[in-house]
Symmetry: C2
Subunit: 131 residues, 2 copies
């Protein structure tokens, strides 16, 4: 399978697939003409990575996940631990984003949004946090 087909099959850009080879997440064979030649296993691996990345795992976490995946004697506890950690990370981000949203919303709500130069948003930035 050529890289273009793999790109279509996985939804990953070819550039990204080459990058994943660069950092040794995948090791495709080479055809006689120098083209990368992906086996079914490579494609699975790439699809695996794509889904894990989409769930917010970093490349290094994907690497861990893959080694766990490769390891027949892994325990599901290892994998779960990673997922649980990711979950609390996501919760932290959610909190941050929510409070950020609230601040920004109240700022925007109090801004009349016309041609006058007075603007509570700018003033807030200039003045400092809720004093």
């Amino acid at each position: 399978m050529n890289i273009g087909e793999v790109a279509k099959a996985t939804g990953l850009p070819a550039k990204t697939i080459r990058y994943y080879e660069d950092i040794k997440l995948v090791r495709p064979a080479r055809a006689g003409n120098g083209y990368r030649d992906y086996a079914r296993d490579d494609v699975h691996r790439l699809a695996f990575i794509q889904r894990a990345r989409g769930l917010g795992f970093t490349i290094n976490e994907c690497r861990q996940l893959l080694s766990l995946y490769d390891d027949e004697s892994r325990s599901s506890a290892d994998v779960k631990a990673l997922a649980v950690e990711k979950l609390s990370e996501i919760d932290r981000k959610l909190d941050e984003l929510n409070s950020l949203r609230a601040t920004l919303k109240s700022l925007a709500d109090h801004c009349h949004g016309d041609d006058r130069p007075e603007c509570p948003i700018i003033e807030e930035f200039a003045r400092g946090p809720a004093s």
Copy 2:
């Protein structure tokens, strides 16, 4: 004011403050000994940037905000537009994170998390999205 004091006053690392000078967000004077010498105005600018960054504005958006801030004849509508755009961006991120959280949570909940090698998380990754 030396960079260290500014760092303390604004909460920004000195490295970051120098970086902001590099990309021309601030232009502090220099003392005779070559040290950066920050005026009150520079410190305000930096604090401004810090708060805007903390609210999720990118450096370039900060630049826009600053030019708006510098511009006596700005309209508050310009600033509000930026804030409103940021808001919907945040909402998009919140949605993404929430659905990501849900997926990961259900995966983790279905994982018994013991020593057995079977693991629904790994299987999900290997199999592909909800089939």
